[in-house]
Amino acid sequence: MKRFTLVLVFCFALAAVAEDEGRYRDLGAKIQCSCGCNQMLLQCNHVGCPSSAKMIQDLHTSLATYKNDEDVLNWFRSNYGMTVVVAPATHGFELTIWVMPPLLLLVAVTLLFFLIRLWRQRATPVPAMGVDPQLDALRERARKETEL
């Protein structure tokens, strides 16, 4: 039983480490290095970069302090300035950046769908003609060759 508990604790510890590593990479990709290189914190490769080492250390510290990712990002916003976080917040005015593109696409697709229906209703019906298999074959061939 003791062994089983130890194995369980070890598994949980491993899972926690993996989760922390996941959070570290995820949040590191949402924070920009403040050295002016415009690269993500974990991608900044400036030799002797004055900022990235300190910021990575701060990221580790705040990951241990805050369990909520948004709190970590807020900590960076308040300590390094608003522009340091490259993922806009999902509340307040910044929510509009996330909402607008899908909303607009949805509206446009809906409009297009109704427009197509309207056009179809307006389309002039072609009077039915006598069936001529030879003509049909020629039409089919013309359609294939002209793509019309």
Binding site: G48, T83, F93, V109, A123, E145
Partner: protein, 698 residues
């Protein structure tokens, strides 16, 4: 020499302005001399190219001869700069790149005016529009960004070219991108010309089709050369960072792609005329807007080597006069261009009535419409994300930064939907398609897509682990759908021709492609696009590791083991370098020795620049990408960062396929096959023999 360059620049402006004004007068006048005036306008437009070319040559000569009396040459060149990069000096700075833009525009205009016989009146109108654009750029080059500004004291040497630009890709990337940007002016000019003169029919589209495809091709190659440069030079292990300037190049590419698709509806069915006109106008506006974004500094970008105040020339400005309670506002070139287009659209919009209506939702037309809609949604989301910091500054009082997390989250699903449409489109016929036909043609590609997904999951993909693996699996699966759909199109067409030509299937497919280069070239381009998508999808499985490695220390990343063998220093005329020599093993087996290097340009100088030359071991499956980060100042040990980037090489292969496909689509169709067709002919004599197929008597 600089005086000659400066004079030619001014002369080019005069010639362009004359081309525009005389061209307009000739077009509106009914005077007998109007034709001669129009001809002189055409010739002055062509002469403007020669004057601009001489001016550009003078600047290149100044770079080659180390003429540091020119401020531009001092800022962007130096004595040790290798000769190929001295040519690149022309477009490496603000003033030179504006001159280069004017040069390319005048070169396009030269070809257009030379080929005026295709339709004299249409070309005359388009020539005036082009001259207007050309005049604007030459005004900017002459009065706001003149590269021939001289210094009072001539320095012994110059600052040198930005270290990041000293790569072969960078010698080609800007010209390609500029050829794409500037090339979009040609379909714009023709579109506006057709609108102005209420041009009958769709001939203007036939004339501009190749221009648009060529410009689109240049833009595509330019964008991916930029990505290639970022991957091989910037050293962060990626190829696309959603930087505002990268986005600026993507915007006209997206609308240009939409135009290339929707224009087929106008050609085949006389539909979407208003849409197409505005699509090509928008593509041009976005090209200009991209230039504004690159130059104005309104948004932070890594491309900060080209910042200046000339943005106001493009977008205008507004504000309050100092010490006076008055506001001022003046339009820029973009607002004027929009206003001109809007005026002519409102005046002549009746000319753009569609000749046909959509007959079915399940048709090629509707697939093009959805394709256009989704492309424009992608364009909007990129533009929205790029400009949101400015919007946030206006509304919230502070700028925010919008980076990859936003762009990837929004654009990846849109991209997946586009790949799906790429598979569906070829299956649908024009006007209407029966569901039975869709089912019949779609069954095989759908089966291939499902099978691909099953095989990938069985092989170890775990899409339930994170969202990027889901996207990746969907990309692979949808790409398989497209490849199967395009493959079956070639196969079906090839089978039909195989019987007629009595040849093998591959030969039949070759003849099929030659008979309809545009259609099958387009399919090849689609294949290239999905190959790129496959390359991009590999990103979900990237690995990286950074570690200090002393001599004979080991770094393990994925299947690879790196062993530090040696660290060296070297000196050359242009830079000093630090190199790491690493032995690389994969699964315990030696595969290569790699040499990641760090270069130090102008070492010890105040303008010292450091740059990475990454070492990359490429296979079709993955890249091992190694960067040498120099020494840790505290431990004095070398730092190595290694990335394993799966499938990256397929991005570059996909671009080559796109280039091939576009070249095929640009080629003229081969003559149609001559097979006996039964035609009714009148035969004298027996009434029972009155109708007989032609050739029956032979």
């Amino acid at each position: 020499m600089p005086i000659i360059g400066d004079f030619c620049l001014l002369f080019a402006l005069v010639l362009s302005a004359y081309c525009m004004v005389a061209g307009i007068v000739a077009l509106v006048s009914h005077h007998p001399a109007a034709a001669r005036l129009g001809e002189s306008a055409r010739r002055s437009g062509m002469a403007a190219f020669i004057a601009t070319a001489v001016s550009a040559l003078v600047l290149v000569y100044a770079a080659l001869s180390n003429d540091f009396s020119l401020e531009y040459i001092r800022a962007h060149s130096n004595r040790t700069l290798p000769i190929p990069y001295k040519f690149a000096v022309l477009w490496s700075g603000q003033e030179g790149s504006m001159l280069f833009w004017a040069l390319l525009l005048s070169a396009y205009g030269f070809v257009l005016r030379l080929r005026h016989k295709v339709d004299r009146r249409l070309v005359a109108h388009a020539s005036v529009v082009l001259a207007g654009i050309q005049t604007f750029f030459l005004i900017v080059v002459n009065f706001a960004a003149n590269p021939f500004g001289t210094l009072d004291r001539v320095p012994a040497d110059g600052n040198g070219l930005n270290a990041l630009l000293q790569y072969p890709q960078m010698v080609i990337h800007p010209p390609m991108l500029y050829l794409g940007y500037v090339g979009m002016s040609i379909p714009f000019a023709f579109g506006l010309a057709a609108l102005i003169m209420k041009y009958p029919g769709e001939k203007w589209i036939h004339i501009t089709r190749r221009w648009t495809m060529v410009a689109w091709l240049f833009l595509t190659v330019g964008i991916f050369l930029g990505a290639n440069w970022a991957y091989y030079v910037l050293g962060w292990g990626g190829y696309w960072g959603w930087d505002p300037v990268e986005n600026a190049s993507l915007l006209p590419w997206i609308t240009g792609t939409a135009f290339l698709h929707s224009v087929m509806m106008q050609e085949k069915r006389g539909m979407m005329k208003t849409w197409n006109i505005w699509l090509i106008f928008t593509t041009f506006y976005l090209s200009i807007f991209g230039t504004f974004l690159t130059r104005s500094g309104v948004i932070n970008s890594v491309h900060s080597f080209a910042l200046s105040s000339i943005g106001a020339w493009f977008m205008g400005d507004f504000g309050r006069l100092p010490y006076f309670p008055f506001f001022y506002a003046y339009p820029g070139f973009l607002e004027i261009a929009i206003a001109v287009c809007l005026v002519f659209y409102l005046k002549n919009r009746s000319h753009l009535q569609a000749e046909n209506k959509l007959e079915s939702v399940v048709s090629r037309e509707s697939s093009f419409m959805f394709n256009n809609l989704v492309l424009l949604a992608a364009c909007f989301s990129v533009l929205w994300g790029t400009l949101f910091p400015v919007l946030s500054d206006w509304i919230q009082g502070h700028k925010i930064t919008v980076g990859p997390p936003f762009f990837n989250r929004i654009n990846v699903p849109i991209g997946l939907f586009l790949i799906f449409l790429t598979a569906i489109g070829p299956i649908l016929a024009w006007r209407t398609t029966s569901f039975a036909s869709v089912r019949r043609n779609f069954a095989f590609p759908a089966a291939v897509a499902v099978l691909t997904a099953i095989v990938l999951v069985a092989a170890g993909m775990r899409p339930w682990h994170d969202v990027w693996q889901i996207y990746s699996l969907m990309t692979f699966s949808l790409s398989a759908l497209v490849i199967a759909a395009v493959g079956s199109e070639f196969f079906r067409g090839g089978r039909v021709l195989q019987g007629k030509l009595k040849t093998n299937l591959l030969g039949a497919m070759y003849h099929l492609t030659r008979r309809n280069t545009r259609r099958y070239g387009g399919y090849i381009v689609h294949l290239g696009v999905v190959i790129i998508a496959i390359g991009l999808a590999g990103r979900a499985f990237n690995l990286d590791k950074q570690q200090e490695i002393g001599l004979h220390d080991k770094l393990q990343v994925g299947h690879y083991e790196l062993v530090g063998q040696k660290y060296t220093q070297d000196h050359s005329d242009n830079y000093d370098s630090l190199s790491a020599i690493l032995d690389v093993y994969k699964d315990g087996k030696f595969i290569a020795t790699m040499y990641p290097t760090q270069m130090i340009y102008q070492p010890g100088q105040p303008n010292e620049q450091r740059d990475n030359k990454v070492a990359i071991h490429t296979t079709l499956l993955e890249d091992l990408y190694i960067r040498y980060d120099g020494f840790n100042a505290e431990t004095d040990r070398p730092i190595i960062t290694a990335f394993v980037n799966p499938l990256v090489v397929w991005i570059w292969i996909g671009v080559i396929v796109i280039v091939l496909g576009t070249c095929v689509a640009l080629a003229p169709n081969a003559a149609p096959l001559k097979s006996p067709v039964p035609v009714s002919v009148l035969v004298r004599g027996d009434p029972s023999q009155m109708l007989e197929p032609a050739g029956a008597a032979k």
